[in-house]
């Protein structure tokens, strides 16, 4: 820490300089408003378009004007910043930008400070960040104080309650582990309500007692009500401080949720006590009537229940709104921020508990909103919230430090400070022990002594208390300055001393830590089963216990709430399925993160999977294939199809590219859309990779193939046409490089155009991609195919005969689409469209195959095989979530295209697109096949390819080809 300080100083000085300037300037408007010194006004720029009031308003946010501030100073800055006359090329418009500028600078300082702290791992592991930030604040405050003789910045209650606190609470509420929270709700409520009341009254009365006993100085004027008021505001455990400290301590979840939940829910108690006592102080203790006490109780109930209700209403509203954002994905996150924030503001509006409101809004809406919005939006929401909360927290702590360096607000009384420190600690401990003793009669898993120690010790006070104490009216509460000083000391003591020591304490006591593990599908399934079991057992025993009501709630939720608040497509997906997909995606990402080549390497080791031992075992083979084919493949599809997995996709692609970059010649497409982000040329590169792989494969395969098989595959591929650019690529790649194909050659030229088009579409659709709807029809068909894995061969054979039926891809799609999200369109297109295009392509390909003589035979077989392989690969790649680098690229293209077509035109466009597609592609049967392949291939491909692959594998080393998975699997 020591050696970090110099660094900080440097920044601090630099910042301070900037700040000072800002401060001076910012003072001007305020003074102008209040005192309206003519000098300042005249000096202030005629150029600035805004009247001074606005500055003043904005200025309040960060810069705090001192009433006595010398106007001369202001004038100086004003002169310096403004031109004398005539036109100047460069103008100094500080007053114009000052407020946002200062805010931005502060945020920048806070962020840079964070970076600096984390340069030294040793420091941050020992010292909580909050401590460092407060220290930094102290330093900055000192610099400002020295430089300007006045403390210009302070944690403004308005700023704190309206902007900083909501960001933190919103984040906490939205990402609250709801199951854990509700499992412990009873305990949390007891601590929050009873505990806070206990703390407030005990501290208040004891301090008053100390005052009477003369231990607290006479100067601290105040009666019982003042001390009770102070007790109320100092007794509440602070969510910001608790979060900041406990996040680094990693105690077990139960402990964390209890302390943190308490800190959130005690807000209602604090607010009510604070308001009640303030009114009592104003009226004077003598005038308080009995009725007022009852009013206090009533207002407690109203503030509580009202706050919760407001939160829940907004939660329902938010969930309901997100049902309909399908076409405006780009503003989805905005709705969430706005409505959650509105929940907070509305509660403030009615002086209800805003924290409660926001917390319950977050908890309530999370499930439905997360299900409704796209994957991208989810990521956006998550990161935005975390970023905001993190920066708000940083600013709060820095400003706490700065605020402390303000002599004018301090009035020190050793007796008051030391008594307060002792009392809050003692009463906290007593309260926790007493409540725990009672609670343990009811708790399933009793809280043991260690938990109680941590809970007592974790009773951190923070910025809420500070903001409340600053809000006090100095005229009515005479001892305000003493209270402020004491509050600051208490906060510093709890955050810094306790925050610093709680980690070693937890280690020393060996308090069980949280295990940082990701959920596995096993846990998900079995825990659900446990819930059902317990609900059943409680029913059998005839008792309406927790699980009974939980079960009832789930039923209600499923039958009514979810129906109302979730999109139909989402509602029809099982929750478990969602979990499954999430886990799959996670695995896919982690696989990719391990290195682009993991995809290409034949064996996939999924992190969440236990060690997979035998590929060789016959039983496992099918399973493994299936897993890789369906499960892994799923990932990709999931990513693509399920709500815009762009992010994952991009990551994936990126890794792929870094892994096997094959520099393509590019054509430049300019896309501009404000509403959609462009995918870029990734697909192309992927294609290249794919081609490359295909080439190598072809070479290896050359000798193996038979014509017949080749045909089948060709046919299939043709049938599958729609989806895959990849196939197109294949085709293109093959003919060019290895053999000259009659069919393919013509194809190549046209291919490009469709591809381009597809890319464009893809770009548009990407965001929309999420939306693919209505898959069900296909799904039904597919299951049949899927099941008989053993029949794969038959199926495969039959495929040739049968018009392209929905293949694995479709199957996959249905899953994703389970809700109807995905590829219905695809399947539809394939079935409808295929006939025309296919016929052409088919005929061409067949004729070409037949026409080819023995010498060409090799080439021909290769093609079909290649295609098949490519299909398989594509299918796998697509399905497997980028397992195949090449495959993924092509696969993606097709997917995107379809979705794009679908989404854009929906049904109408589909029809339109079909002809277009055909026109575009007609020359190239392979293209057709590729496209179709996207949709259909996966199932058949997986199976068939596997077989082929086996044979192939013997010839070619699996490792060499990225897509060789199939073989390797075998």
């Amino acid at each position: 820490m020591l050696f970090v300080t110099p660094l900080l100083l440097v920044t601090a000085v630099g910042v301070a300089a900037a700040d000072l300037y800002g401060t001076e300037a910012s003072v001007r408007p305020e003074t102008a408003v209040s005192a309206a010194p003519p000098a300042t006004l005249s000096a202030s720029p005629a150029a600035s378009p805004y009247p001074p009031e606005e500055y003043a308003e904005a200025g309040i946010a960060l810069a705090r004007s001192a009433d006595a501030h010398d106007p001369v100073e202001t004038t100086d800055s004003g002169d310096a910043s403004h031109h004398g006359g005539g036109y100047k090329i460069v103008q100094w418009e500080w007053s114009y930008v000052q407020t946002p500028y200062i805010i931005a600078i502060w945020i920048l300082v806070a962020s840079v400070a964070k970076i600096l702290f984390h340069f030294s791992q040793r420091v941050t592991t020992v010292v909580p960040e909050s401590c460092l930030l407060i220290l930094l604040g102290l330093v900055l405050g000192g610099v400002v104080l020295i430089a300007s003789k006045k403390q210009l910045y302070q944690l403004e209650p308005g700023l704190f309650f309206l902007f900083l606190l909501p960001t933190i609470v919103g984040d906490a509420g939205y990402f609250m582990p709801s199951r854990l929270f509700f499992d412990n709700l009873g305990t949390i409520l007891v601590y929050a309500v009873v505990g806070t009341l206990w703390n407030a009254f005990c501290t208040g009365f004891s301090l008053y007692g100390m005052k009477l006993a003369g231990i607290i100085d006479e100067k601290v004027e105040g009666g019982m009500m003042e001390f009770l008021l102070f007790g109320a505001l100092i007794s509440a455990v602070d969510p910001v401080a608790v979060l900041a400290v406990f996040e680094e301590v990693h105690v077990n979840e139960t402990l964390f949720i209890i302390v943190f939940g308490e800190s959130l829910l005690n807000d209602a108690v604090t607010v009510v006590l604070y308001k009640v006592f303030i009114s009592f102080v104003e009226v004077g203790p003598g005038n308080v009537q009995t009725a007022d006490y009852f009013k206090g109780v009533a207002s407690f109930l109203i503030v509580n229940v009202g706050g919760t209700l407001v939160g829940l209403i907004f939660a329902v509203l938010l969930a309901f709104v997100t049902r309909f954002t399908k076409r405006v994905r780009i503003i989805e996150p905005l709705f969430i921020f706005l409505l959650v924030y509105l929940a907070y503001l509305t509660a403030e509006l009615f002086s209800l508990s805003a924290i409660l409101s926001m917390t319950f809004c977050g908890i309530g809406c999370n499930k439905y909103v997360e299900a409704n919005i796209s994957q991208k939006s989810r990521t956006t929401v998550k990161y935005t919230m975390k970023t905001l909360a993190s920066i708000a927290e940083t600013i709060i702590f820095i400003f706490l430090g700065i605020s402390a360096v303000d002599k004018s607000k301090w009035a020190w009384d050793t007796g008051l400070v030391s008594c307060t420190l002792i009392f809050i600690f003692v009463f906290r401990a007593l309260g926790v022990i007493g409540q725990t003793w009672v609670l343990n009669w009811f708790r399933l898993v009793p809280l043991d002594k260690l938990d109680q120690v941590v809970m007592s010790y974790g009773g951190l006070r923070g910025a809420v208390a500070f903001a409340l104490v600053v809000l006090l009216d100095g005229h009515k509460v005479k001892a305000k300055d003493y209270f402020v000083a004491t509050t600051i000391v208490v906060i510093f003591f709890t955050v810094m001393f306790q925050g610093l020591t709680i980690k070693p304490l937890v280690k020393w006591l060996k308090v069980p830590r949280s295990t940082n593990s990701k959920p596995t599908i096993n846990e998900e399934i079995h825990e659900r089963a446990f819930d059902h079991i317990l609900a059943a057992v409680e029913d059998i025993a005839g008792l309406n216990g927790y699980h009974h009501w939980r079960d009832k709630w789930e039923q209600f939720d499923k039958n009514y709430l979810s129906k109302l608040l979730m999109r139909k497509s989402v509602y029809h997906k099982g929750e478990l399925w969602e979990v499954y997909q999430k886990i799959n995606i996670r695995d896919a990402i982690s696989v990719i993160d391990q290195g682009g080549n993991v995809l290409s390497s034949a064996r996939l080791s999924l992190p969440s999977m236990a060690s997979r031992t035998s590929f060789s075992e016959v039983t496992n083979v099918t399973n493994y294939l299936r897993e890789n084919g369906s499960g892994v493949c799923l990932d990709l599809q999931v990513i693509d199809t399920v709500s815009g997995g762009k992010v994952e996709e991009e990551t994936e692609t990126h890794h792929l590219l870094t892994g096997n970059l094959y520099k393509p010649r590019r054509r430049y497409h300019a896309h501009y859309s404000r509403h959609f982000m462009t995918v870029g040329d990734k697909e192309r590169q992927d294609r290249e990779v794919f081609q490359r792989n295909m080439r190598s494969r072809l070479e290896s395969f050359k000798s193996t193939r038979h014509k017949a098989k080749g045909r089948h595959k060709k046919e299939r591929s043709q049938k599958k046409r729609k989806g895959s650019d990849a196939k197109e690529q294949e085709v293109n790649g093959k003919p060019r490089r290895n053999v000259s194909w009659q069919d393919t050659d013509p194809v190549t030229a046209p291919v490009d155009s469709p591809e381009e088009r597809s890319e464009e579409e893809a770009d548009k659709d990407e965001d929309v991609g999420i939306t693919f709807v209505a898959r069900k029809h296909e799904t039904l068909k597919e299951p049949l195919k899927e099941r008989p894995k053993s029949d794969m061969l038959e199926v495969y054979q039959s495929l040739a005969v049968i018009p392209p039926s929905p293949t694995c891809a479709e199957k996959h799609l249905p899953w994703k689409g389970g809700g109807g999200t995905l590829p219905v369109c695809v399947s539809m297109e394939t079935t409808k469209i295929i006939p025309i295009d296919l016929q052409q392509a088919w005929n061409q390909s067949i004729s070409s195959l037949e026409s080819l003589a023995s010498p060409p035979v090799q080439a021909e077989p290769q093609h079909p095989r290649v295609r098949a392989l490519s299909r398989a690969e594509a299918a796998r790649g697509g399905n497997s979530g980028g397992s195949d680098s090449g495959g993924s690229g092509p696969a993606q293209d097709p997917r995107f295209h379809f979705p794009n077509d679908e989404e854009n035109g929906q049904s109408l466009q589909q029809q339109e697109s079909q002809p277009l597609m055909s026109s575009m592609k007609p020359p190239a049967p392979p293209q057709v096949s590729s496209t179709q392949g996207m949709g259909r291939r996966p199932p058949t491909f997986n199976r068939n390819p596997c077989v082929y692959l086996r044979s192939l594998v013997s010839a070619s080393p699996p490792g060499s080809e990225p897509r060789s998975r199939g073989p390797t699997q075998l």
């Binding site: 009811f442 399933l444 898993v445 295990t515 593990s517 596995t520 599908i521 096993n522 846990e523 399934i525 079995h526 659900r528 089963a529 446990f530 819930d531 059902h532 079991i533 317990l534 609900a535 059943a536 057992v537 409680e538 029913d539 059998i540 025993a541 005839g542 699980h547 009974h548 079960d551 029809h572 997906k573 099982g574 478990l576 399925w577 499954y580 886990i583 999924l606 969440s608 999977m609 236990a610 060690s611 997979r612 031992t613 039983t619 496992n620 399973n623 299936r626 897993e627 369906s630 499960g631 799904t779 039904l780 597919e782 299951p783 899927e786 099941r787 199957k811 249905p814 899953w815 389970g818």
Partner: protein, 166 residues
């Protein structure tokens, strides 16, 4: 009979159970996706009745773990220990009692738990994934050991205990 829970007998005797029908009279069980299996767990093989004694023994699985009792090393495995709780759950999956949860068995459970919400392929892929995740010895089934390991991090004591059986 290592350890018998000793709940107040009154509520139990009021509910003498003579057969599955009596369980069937509990309405909520009908809506519980795995209610049938749980009812089945109360009956030993071939029997159509359950006496009070074994009824309570089953319920005893769900007593919260008593730390004092658990600390006695000489006492046999209490019926509400973590292992026993897990074994009870395991047996709900393992309907043919071969000590393994096969893919089919898992599929059955999944099917009931997910009802009509997902397609058969989805079910299968979930089941496959589940098995692969847990299957350590590669037999394409989940043995009790594997089952236990896959739930190592789960707070079974909490999740498989019911408050009223304190």
């Amino acid at each position: 009979m290592p350890f018998m829970p000793e709940p107040d007998p009154d509520p139990w005797q009021l509910r003498r159970l003579n057969g599955p029908q009596d369980f069937g009279s509990v309405k909520e069980l009908a809506t519980n996706p795995i209610g049938d299996r749980i009812i089945g767990a109360f009956f030993s093989q071939g029997q159509e009745t359950v006496d009070f004694h074994s009824f309570v023994r089953i319920l005893a699985h769900f007593r919260p773990l008593d730390k004092n009792r658990a600390k006695r090393p000489d006492s046999p495995e209490p019926i509400n220990s973590r292992i026993s709780k897990l074994r009870f759950a395991f047996q709900l999956y393992d309907q043919d009692n071969d000590g393994k949860i096969s893919r089919d068995e898992l599929l059955q459970v999944l099917r009931t738990m997910l009802e009509m919400q997902v397609t058969e392929e989805q079910l299968e892929s979930i089941a496959d994934r589940t098995i692969q995740e847990a299957d350590l010895d590669g037999d394409n089934a989940i043995s009790f050991d594997e089952f236990r390991k896959s739930l190592e991090k789960v707070n079974i004591e909490h999740k498989m205990s019911s408050r009223f059986l304190h």
